[in-house]
Amino acid sequence: MSEWTVAKLAEQYRSGRLTRRRLIARMVSAGLGAPVIAGVLAACSAGSTNKGSGAAQAGTGSDASSGANDTFQPAKRGGGGTLKLLWWQGPSILNAHLSTGTKDSDGSRLFTEPLAAWDPDGNPFPILAAEIPSIEKGTLDKEGKSVTWKLKKAVQWHDGQPFTADDVIFTWQYTTDPATGSTRIANYSNVAAIDKIDDSTVKISFKDPTPYWQIAFFAGEGHVLPKHVLEPFKGKEARNAPFNLKPVGTGPYKIVDFRSGDLIIAEINQNYHVPNRPFFDRVELKGGGDATSAARAVLQTGDYDYAWNTLVADDLLLSMEKGGAGKTIIVPAASCETIHLQMADSTTEADGERATVKSKHPFFSDIKVRQAFAVAINRKLIAEAVFGRQGTAATYVVVNPKRFAPDGTFEYNLQKAAQMLDDAGWKKGPDGIRGKDGKRMKVLFQTSVNDIRQNAQAIIKKDLESLGIQVELKSVNDTVFFGGDPNNPDNINHFFADMQMYASTYSPDPQTYMRTWVSSLEGSGTDNIAQKSNGWSTPNYSRYQNPEYDKLWRQARAEMDPVKRADLLKQMQKLLVSDAVIIPLVNRTPAEAAKNNLQGMDLGPFESRLWKIAYWHRT
């Protein structure tokens, strides 16, 4: 077994003890891909100026919120010509409540709108609401039992009908009818009733105190539907509604033509409820193809104005940008690539079940060992070499909105990790592998099939092996890995491995996301832990059990004071990291491509890329 790490090699290369050719050969033999090696070389040359763990990475992409300080104030509606958008996964349906993915929410955003949206900083931004409910205005209950929405007046549907409180109530009834088959039904699970106060006021009553009330009628999942159009299509008839393909909304654009998976053509809504908006007269959204050629069509040839989710290796994006037609926009995401550690023993079977909640992991049950692993992972190198501009090294999982993001730095120190493992009693054996009481330190590390993830795995494996830990890597096809099939043992739910790596996205309020590590929602059982009896459907896959964590989570669930609540959510994250049940790796900052003269997009982590389409403009 070779006694080296990528970091050591990089150090030797930097100090001139290793030639470039030798360095590349060693990394190739470790199974690292070409983009990673290029990244390591780049990180080496930049490393001298950018040391210090956890330092923010110097991205060269443009400011994501190229709209926050936008001063464009048009004096009239329209006049901007055609806006050409490229989504490499074409929207397949334009009813946001029946959509199965972001592409569909994006497409419907041109036509239908929610009451309010999330701005890039995670603050509510009114759209069909006249104002955001608040305790001061008396529209938000102190106990969190109800919220009153005042709707914008004189808003018209595309067919000229007025938008009223009835439409809001209908949207709730439509979505919560199980026969409709809406994917958003759970957003209203805590809603007891919605009452019409007058034509432009609705009051939502909740079953339990609800500090996170901004989920119903909010953002991409909360589009309001026209009652007069969809009433005959509630329930079983939902799929036959012409609306699904020819939506009638309140949005800035009206549908002209839609071909599922291929093309949306939309024209300006001359009666849009925001004065002098939108700027573009016509929008064409073309779907299909692949991310690389989509980026090319914007950055290199300039045939299109904007390309969604350009999931392309960073060095390739940089070379395309030399074409000069467009720029890459780096957008923070509500998503953290995280390594999860298994707390139960997945190698042995007890009571007919592997990794049962009663079992203890042979070494991850010791907090010292978990912490040693956390120190042994080179997040900075992974962020720079593997993700480039599209990720920054993470200390905690939540970085957006800022109010839920704890401060802190991580550490990478292999000597310290070795010392910690020695102290915990895991000494190196004659074969170089650590062991204790006849047990060997051997980990199975799984993730989904994805170039980026395999490259990160390879870097981590090298570091762990240098510590005397035997590492077996496993990668699973992503439809299986994330599929959640109770009969398939290879998914994240079963977690029949010691470490697993993936990224999950979180809402502007991380309460639901933080449920991932709760052992019991009420009482003191293990009801939230994935296990055979619940078909591995509950989110605590790590089988983590910490009463202190559960207490904090339940407190946050009912805490109405936003400051105290944010503090609780931060404490929970700190607990997870100090307890080392997770090792946050990289906060994702994905890339989008836009023409140089396109402005006003105001992109953020919690919203569809098109949430502010009415404000897009060309300079």
């Binding site: 029946l98 039904i185 998976g261 040839t301 045939d303 096809n477 398939n488 449920r515």
Partner: protein
């Protein structure tokens, strides 16, 4: 003849049933469901996915799903897409004209190249022309469309900036401008497919002609004093057509199902790209419709090829 066709059609029924059962089972056994993306969204609990699966009936055992699908499709009801909730037939209607235009015209171009080149290669065997044609045929045949497609894009779109590489079926123009724009959009995908097809058709035409031109009746025709053109086209080519027609008839179904890779590269909204997207999102009704229609067309055109044999070759008679 009518009896022959009827018998063949009857034999086709069990074949098609077996094909549909195998296809359906494979699709059902593949991992994932149309709601895969929802699994990574923490706001969508597993119960919601279970409810959606129930609404679509994909929580039932495979054989129940299959019988239901079969019963409905026999009555002409092919179902609706799990993803877009659009009737499958409507989806196909939207996509078919584009596929026919691109793949169909590519095939015509391929024939227009292959027939004259193939004939000349055979007539002037081992000449310079034959050698050049053979070299290009092998080159064209061994270069996959995803390679030539990307090569074309690099040369004509990125470096020369002559042609758009994102196909638009909806062109905002009329008259000659429309034709010109359509040509600009269609020429790259058409040529990529045509060159590939032409390469193997050329080889067939050449081989078929070579078989024929050494026959006695060709010598007889020459001895009668007929011109070279009359001999080649009237006597040799007509006989050489028989195997070529079989190949062409068997290629026709592929025109209807589009070209998966080429359509994906150029974003041509045809049947091929619909098929690949539907497979990725586990949209069983759409996949079944396309693949099963392909199976029917293959069976039907094999029959057509057999019937054409009889028309072209008086020696063959069916009873």
């Amino acid at each position: 003849m009518a009896k022959f066709i009827a018998r063949r059609a009857l034999i086709a029924i069990p074949t098609l049933l077996a094909i549909s059962a195998v296809l359906f089972t494979i699709l059902a056994l593949a991992p994932g469901d149309p709601f895969g993306q929802l699994a990574q969204n923490p706001d969508v609990p597993p119960e919601v996915r279970a409810n959606l699966r129930r609404q679509l009936g994909i929580d039932q055992p495979v054989y129940v799903q299959y019988v239901k699908w079969l019963a409905a499709s026999v009555q002409g009801n092919w179902g609706y897409s799990f993803v877009s909730h659009v009737d499958v037939k409507v989806l196909i209607q939207q996509r078919l004209p584009t596929s026919l235009l691109i793949v169909g015209s590519a095939y015509l171009v391929a024939l227009a190249i292959a027939v004259p080149v193939g004939i000349l290669s055979a007539v002037r065997q081992y000449s310079l022309l034959d050698n050049v044609a053979t070299t290009f045929a092998f080159l064209g045949y061994s270069l996959p469309t995803f390679f030539t497609g990307l090569l074309f894009i690099l040369v004509f779109s990125i470096y020369l900036r002559w042609l758009p590489f994102i196909y638009t079926a909806d062109i905002q123009a009329s008259g000659l401008t429309y034709v010109w724009e359509l040509l600009r959009h269609a020429i790259m995908p058409v040529m990529v497919l045509a060159l590939f097809q032409a390469a193997h058709l050329t080889r067939y035409v050449r081989a078929a002609m070579l078989d024929v031109i050494h026959m006695d009746y060709i010598n007889t025709a020459r001895a009668k004093g007929l011109s070279a053109v009359q001999v080649t086209l009237g006597h040799a080519f007509r006989n050489a057509l028989i195997p070529v027609v079989t190949i062409i008839a068997l290629d026709v179904p592929a025109i209807f199902t589009g070209a998966i890779i080429t359509e994906q590269i150029f974003r041509v909204p045809g049947i091929g790209s619909l098929l690949i997207n539907s497979i990725q999102s586990k949209d069983t009704p759409v996949v079944m419709f396309i693949v099963f229609t392909y199976a029917i067309l293959v069976v039907a055109f094999t029959l057509v090829a057999d019937v054409l044999y009889g028309v072209l070759d008086p020696r063959i008679r069916y009873a």
